[in-house]
C-alpha cells in the first residue's frame, strides 16, 4: 500500500531537509521525497498537504499514562488517543504507576496495552530503583530487554548522590539514559508552588528554584564522574538551564527537556488557587521563563516534553495544598509551542521539529524515528502553522480534564498524525483547512 503526502512543506532536521516536496510512503515505511511537480506514483493514494508542514512524528518523552493502577485518571488507550490528537506519534510512559514499572513484567504489560490501543507508539521508561524508593537498583537489564528506553524515578527523585552514581554507572552498561526529576526534597519540604512573591502573597509553601538546581548541578557532576547519559526532566529554572549549558560546554552527555506550561505561565497564575496551576516543578517567575526561552533558542534545551499528568476532577477539586501535582498536556503542547515560541520568533519551525522529534529520538536511541530518511517508519506529524483554534478541554481525548489552558486560543496546530503510515488522527476541519490553503500559498 502506497500513500503520497503531496504538496506539503517537508522539514526534517536530521537530514537538513527544509523544502516543498512530496513524500512517498509504502507499507508503513518512508520511501523518499519527490518534487511537487512530479506525478503521483502508480497505485498511490494521495494525502493533500497543501499549505501544511510535514515533519517526522513528534515524540513526547515524558508522559504519565496511569496504567496499570490508576485507570480512572487515564489508560494507555486514552493517553495514546490524546497523544495522536495532539500531534504526537510516540510517547514515553513514566514508571510511577501501581505497580511501579520496576520490572520486566510491568514493562511488557505496558507495551501490550499500547499495541492493543494501536494509536501512538508507547515506550515505557523503567524505574531506576526498586519501587522507586531510592535504595536498591531496579532490574534495568531485564527491563531493557523487555522494551524500556530510559530509566527514571520521576516524581520520587533519587535522594542521594551515592545512589544516583550507582544508577548512572549501571545504566551506562545498557546505554540507557538516566532521566531525573531534579528536586531536593529537603529544600522543597512540602512546597506546592514557586517560592517567591506570589507564594508569600498566597500563603502557600514555596519550592525555591534552588531545590531544582541543587539536583541539576549534582546530576551534571555525576555525569562527569560516571560518563553516563543524563537527561534532566522538565527543567524550569534559570540555574538548571545554566547547569546544562555548562555541562554541554564541557562536552558531557547531558540533555534536558522543557514543558510547555513552564514557558507559558508564571507563578502569578496560581493567584486564584486554581489547582490546575499546581504541578512539580512549579510555575516559575518571569526571569526563569526568560532563561527557558533562551535555552530553547540557543540549543541548551534538547526537547519539548509535556509531563502529561492526568488527575481526576475530584482530586483536583480539593484545597490547593491537598490537590495532586500535575496537568494534562498532550493536546496543548503543539499549540503552546506554535503560539509562544514559533509565532513569537523565539524559535524556527525547523527548531521546533528538532525539539519535538529529532532530539528525543536521538536521546532515546529510537533509530527508526525522528527522521524522514528512506526506510524509516512512516510516523508523521503534519502541522498547519496558520490554523487558528481554541482548546476546549471538554473535547479532550484524555480521561482527565486538569488543564489551565481551557479556552486558550492558538495559531498553529497538528492537523494530521500518521503512525506507521496509517492516518490515526485527522483534524475535524481538515477538508476546509486544505481548501483554504489551496486558495493561497504557504510561506515558510
Amino acid at each position: 500500500m502506497r500513500l503520497l503526502i503531496a504538496n506539503g512543506y517537508v522539514i526534517d532536521p536530521a537530514q537538513g531537509t527544509n523544502t516543498g516536496k512530496n513524500l512517498l510512503i509504502e507499507d508503513g515505511r518512508l520511501v523518499g521525497l519527490s518534487s511537487h511537480s512530479d506525478g503521483v506514483p502508480e497505485g498511490a493514494e494521495v494525502f493533500d498537504a497543501t499549505g501544511l508542514v510535514v515533519a517526522p512524528g513528534f515524540i513526547d518523552m515524558h508522559v504519565h499514562l496511569r496504567e496499570p493502577g490508576h485507570e480512572y485518571k487515564e489508560t494507555i488507550a486514552s493517553g495514546a488517543a490524546a497523544a495522536v490528537a495532539g500531534g504526537f506519534t510516540t510517547v514515553c510512559a513514566m514508571p510511577n504507576t501501581d505497580p511501579i514499572n520496576d520490572n520486566a513484567a510491568v514493562t511488557r504489560f505496558v507495551i501490550e496495552q499500547a499495541a492493543r490501543a494501536g494509536l501512538a507508539s508507547v515506550f515505557p521508561i523503567g524505574a531506576i530503583t526498586k519501587n522507586s524508593d531510592g535504595t536498591e537498583l531496579a532490574e534495568m537489564g531485564e527491563m531493557k530487554d523487555a522494551g524500556i528506553v530510559a530509566v527514571s524515578d520521576d516524581g520520587r527523585p533519587v535522594p542521594t548522590a551515592g545512589m544516583m552514581r550507582r544508577a548512572m554507572e549501571y545504566a551506562r552498561g545498557f546505554d540507557l539514559p538516566v532521566i531525573d526529576h531534579c528536586e531536593d526534597k529537603s529544600l522543597a519540604r512540602g512546597g506546592m508552588m514557586h517560592e517567591g512573591h506570589w507564594s508569600l502573597v498566597l500563603g502557600l509553601r514555596g519550592v525555591p528554584a534552588a531545590a531544582e538546581e541543587v539536583d541539576a548541578e549534582r546530576n551534571c557532576l555525576l555525569a562527569e564522574l560516571t560518563g553516563a547519559r543524563v537527561h534532566l526532566a522538565h527543567v524550569s529554572t534559570r540555574g538548571a538551564i545554566e547547569a546544562v549549558r555548562r555541562a554541554k560546554e564541557k562536552g558531557l552527555p547531558v540533555t534536558c527537556e522543557v514543558a510547555p506550561h513552564h514557558w507559558t505561565l508564571t507563578d502569578e497564575a496560581v493567584s486564584d488557587y486554581d489547582t490546575n496551576t499546581k504541578m512539580s516543578p512549579p510555575l516559575r517567575s518571569q526571569d526563569h521563563i526568560d532563561a527557558l526561552l533562551e535555552g530553547l533558542r540557543d540549543g541548551t534545551v534538547d526537547a519539548i516534553a509535556t509531563d502529561h499528568a492526568p488527575h481526576h476532577a475530584d482530586e483536583k477539586e480539593l484545597e490547593y495544598d491537598q490537590a495532586p501535582f500535575g496537568i494534562v498536556g498532550l493536546e496543548t503542547a503543539v499549540g503552546l509551542a506554535m503560539e509562544r515560541l514559533v509565532n513569537q520568533g523565539v524559535i524556527s519551525l525547523e527548531r521546533l521539529v528538532e525539539l519535538c522529534s529529532t532530539n528525543p529520538a536521538r536521546i532515546l536511541n529510537l533509530e527508526e524515528r525522528g527522521t524522514l530518511r528512506a526506510g524509516a517508519r512512516a510516523d508523521l506529524t503534519i502541522l498547519d502553522p496558520e490554523l487558528a483554534w481554541t482548546f476546549e478541554v471538554s473535547r479532550s481525548k484524555s480521561k482527565s480534564r486538569n488543564t489551565p489552558f481551557d479556552g486558550f486560543t492558538f495559531r498553529g496546530a497538528a492537523v494530521a498524525t500518521l503512525v506507521g503510515g496509517r492516518i490515526v488522527y485527522l483534524h475535524p476541519d481538515y477538508t476546509r483547512v486544505i481548501e483554504s490553503h489551496r486558495a493561497g500559498t504557504f510561506v515558510s
Partner: protein
C-alpha cells in the same frame, strides 16, 4: 464615606479598597456600643443563619464570631471539624454544597489550607467570611487591630507599625500589612531570619521594611504587634529553642524605650507568655491585647451585618443608623440602634 460598598464575600484585605476598609471600621465602631449595654442584642440579623465552619482549633475567633452573630440575633451554628477526619471523608466542597443546601446566609470558615474560603465562594451563594486560611489571610483580625489602633491613636495614616515574629507563616501579618498600608501606615517587620523572608519587602507596592534586629524595627514605632510563635517551628528547625527565641526575639520592656512615646503593644493571641512577649508588657499599660478581643466582636458584627444583613441587599452600604437606607429601613434601624 463610601457609598459603594460592594462586597459579596470577605476573603482577604488585599482585594479591598481603603474606602471599603474604612466603611467596615466605621460600621464596627457603631456596633461597639451594643456590647456595653445590659441587653446585648439587636434584631439586625433576625431570621438569618450564620454557620461557623471551623476546620482548625480556635477558641477566641470562633467564640467572637458566635457572639457577634448572636448579638445581631442571627441563628448561629457552629461546626468544628478536625482536618484529619476530613481527609478520610467528604471533601471541603461537598461539605460546602451540603451546607449550602440548607440555605445559610453566611458561612464563616477557618481552614488550614490557604485559599479554602475562596474555594467555597466559588460554589456557595452564601456570603463567605474568611476567619483565617493557612498562611494566607485573616481579615477580621486585621480589621479589629485597625479598629483598636484607631481607637487609641485616632487615625492610621502616618503611623509606624512594627510586626515582630513569625512573619513567614502568619496570615495575621499579611492581612495587617495590606490593611495598614492601604490606610497610610508604614510597616517594618523583624524576627528570626528563617521566619522573615527578605521577599516580604516587596509584598506591597509601598514596600515593607524588613529588619534583621528587633530593635531596628521597633525604633520610633507607634504600634508594636507581636505575633504568636508556634512551638512546632522549633522541631521544624526554624529556630533552636524557645529559650533562645525568648532572649533574641521576645519583646521586653527595654524595647519599648526605643519606640515612640505612647507606643501601644498588640498581640492577636493566644499568647506564649515569657516567649514572644514578657508578662510585664502583656499586662502593662501599653498593652491593648484585651481591647483587641473586645473590638473583635464589633468588627465581626459589622462584617456579618454588611455581608449577610440589610447592608448586603443591593450592594449599597447602609449604616446601622440607616442614614443612607430606604425610608422603612431607616425607621426600623432608627428603632434598633438609636
Amino acid at each position: 464615606m463610601s457609598t459603594n460598598f460592594k462586597l459579596k464575600h470577605l476573603l482577604g484585605i488585599r482585594e479591598l479598597s481603603a474606602d471599603q476598609i474604612t466603611h467596615l471600621l466605621d460600621t464596627a465602631e457603631t456596633f461597639l456600643d451594643i456590647s456595653k449595654r445590659e441587653i446585648k442584642k439587636v434584631p439586625a440579623l433576625r431570621g438569618r443563619t450564620v454557620i461557623n465552619l471551623f476546620f482548625e482549633a480556635s477558641t477566641r475567633t470562633r467564640t467572637s464570631f458566635e457572639i457577634a452573630a448572636k448579638r445581631l440575633s442571627a441563628d448561629a451554628v457552629n461546626i468544628s471539624v478536625s482536618t484529619s477526619s476530613v481527609s478520610k471523608g467528604e471533601t471541603l466542597l461537598d461539605t460546602a454544597r451540603n451546607l449550602e443546601a440548607m440555605a445559610p446566609d453566611c458561612i464563616v470558615i477557618r481552614h488550614s489550607a490557604a485559599g479554602a474560603p475562596g474555594h467555597l465562594a466559588r460554589v456557595c451563594n452564601a456570603a463567605i467570611v474568611n476567619a483565617g486560611d493557612g498562611a494566607h489571610e485573616h481579615p477580621t483580625q486585621a480589621l479589629l487591630d485597625a479598629l483598636t489602633i484607631r481607637e487609641h491613636k485616632g487615625h492610621l495614616d502616618g503611623l509606624k507599625v512594627a510586626l515582630i515574629g513569625d512573619i513567614l507563616h502568619s496570615r495575621v501579618a499579611r492581612s495587617n500589612v495590606y490593611l495598614l498600608s492601604k490606610l497610610g501606615a508604614t510597616v517594618s517587620v523583624a524576627g528570626p531570619g528563617t521566619l522573615v523572608p527578605p521577599e516580604f519587602a516587596g509584598l506591597i507596592e509601598q514596600g515593607v521594611r524588613v529588619e534583621r534586629k528587633l530593635e531596628d524595627a521597633i525604633v520610633d514605632a507607634d504600634v508594636v504587634m507581636i505575633l504568636r510563635v508556634q512551638r512546632e517551628r522549633q522541631t521544624e528547625a526554624f529556630f533552636p529553642s524557645m529559650r533562645e527565641y525568648a532572649v533574641h526575639y521576645g519583646l521586653h520592656l527595654s524595647h519599648l524605650s526605643l519606640a515612640a512615646p505612647n507606643a501601644i503593644v498588640m498581640h492577636p493571641g493566644p499568647m506564649n507568655r515569657g516567649i514572644e512577649v514578657s508578662s510585664e508588657i502583656a499586662d502593662g499599660g501599653r498593652s491593648l491585647i484585651l481591647d483587641q478581643v473586645t473590638n473583635g466582636v464589633a468588627v465581626r458584627m459589622a462584617v456579618l451585618y454588611l455581608l449577610a444583613g440589610a447592608g448586603k441587599q443591593n450592594g449599597t452600604k447602609r449604616t446601622p443608623a440607616g442614614k443612607n437606607g430606604a425610608q422603612e429601613k431607616k425607621e426600623r434601624s432608627g428603632k434598633l440602634f438609636a
